[in-house]
């Protein structure tokens, strides 16, 4: 936010600052359901979740975990610089999990007059299980614009 990030300062292989989120509480699922409008009871009703095969009860909204990744990204690059952000949902998250978001710069190039950096991101739980893999691109300013 305050500290400017410039295209010249980014190197392929650089790591994003890691973000730790959690442990996730069921209450956060209720908050996220209300905010997002995703009221699938799979995320808020243990009885329902067990009835559809989740033996431990509710699972987190995948989009909540993508939201954590978005938090990590826009803590690093300014929101207005973000051009593209995509994820694959690789595993289910449960209450009690702590999610670690990490990322790496994979490429940087100038394209259509923009200075783009490309990064991979991954969200894992405390046991190392992968919940999300994804990538994003951001257009950064040059030191001498």
């Amino acid at each position: 936010m305050g500290n400017e990030l410039y295209f010249e300062d980014i190197k392929v292989g650089d790591a994003l600052p890691e973000l730790s989120k959690g442990p996730i509480m069921k209450l956060q699922h209720v908050l996220y359901a209300g905010a997002s409008g995703d009221f699938n009871p799979l995320h808020t009703d243990d009885d329902f979740a067990k009835a559809v095969g989740m033996k431990d009860g509710v699972i987190s909204h995948g989009m909540l975990i993508m939201g954590f990744v978005g938090q990590a990204i826009t803590a690093w690059v300014p929101r207005k610089c973000l051009r593209k952000f995509g994820v694959r949902f690789a595993g289910m998250t449960k209450p009690g999990n702590t999610i670690m978001v990490s990322g790496t710069v994979t490429d940087k190039r100038q394209e259509n007059g923009e200075n783009l950096v490309f990064c991979e991101v991954v969200a894992r739980d405390e046991g190392g299980d992968v919940k999300i893999t994804g990538n994003f691109s951001a257009a950064l300013p040059l030191k001498r614009g």
């Binding site: 936010m1 989120k21 956060q28 908050l31 996220y32 209300g34 905010a35 997002s36 409008g37 995703d38 559809v52 995948g62 989009m63 909540l64 993508m66 939201g67 954590f68 978005g70 938090q71 990204i73 826009t74 803590a75 300014p78 929101r79 207005k80 973000l82 051009r83 593209k84 952000f85 995509g86 994820v87 694959r88 949902f89």
Partner: protein, 149 residues
């Protein structure tokens, strides 16, 4: 199984008025303390016109409009067997409180795939291009639904 004759079909537009309170609510639900999402003055100091929307905000109009259940029914997808496989956003312009954004859901593709374990799945990609009240493209959302069979 997903009805592949529906590729290219568009659905009723999602029309959504963006509110500062909803942006703050979404950031708080995620637990994102970034002041640009929570406080208009902080956002302005950081170079925004108002509080911008968090990167995954476009799930809000999509979910509150219930457009996805309508589409899933229309494509004859078994709701109990559907998983959210992927989500991707492209960002073209800032979205701020007071904007009215309109998105038209479109079935981009329906493909059958076989998993490594030999199970067949239908992969349904839905794209929603959002425009603002000035008819400018602001973002595109792409959702991959996976129907296990």
């Amino acid at each position: 199984m997903a009805d592949s004759t529906k590729v290219g079909k568009t659905f009723d537009p999602i029309v959504w008025e963006v509110e500062r309170g909803k942006i703050r609510e979404m950031a708080k639900a995620i637990g994102d303390p970034n002041p640009i999402y929570l406080d208009r003055d902080a956002a302005i100091r950081a170079g925004y016109r108002d509080t911008p929307v968090p990167p995954t905000f476009l799930t809000v109009p999509m979910m509150w409009s219930s457009s996805m259940p309508v589409l899933i029914n229309d494509l004859k997808i078994n709701f109990m067997m559907v998983l959210h496989g992927e989500e991707e956003y492209e960002y073209y312009r800032d979205i701020y409180p007071g904007d009215t954004i309109t998105g038209v859901p479109k079935v981009a593709s329906v493909e059958e795939k076989t998993s490594k374990a030999g199970k067949k799945m239908d992969m349904v990609t839905v794209e929603i291009l959002y425009k603002n009240q000035h008819n400018e493209d602001v973002a595109k959302a792409r959702t991959l639904l996976v129907e296990r069979k």
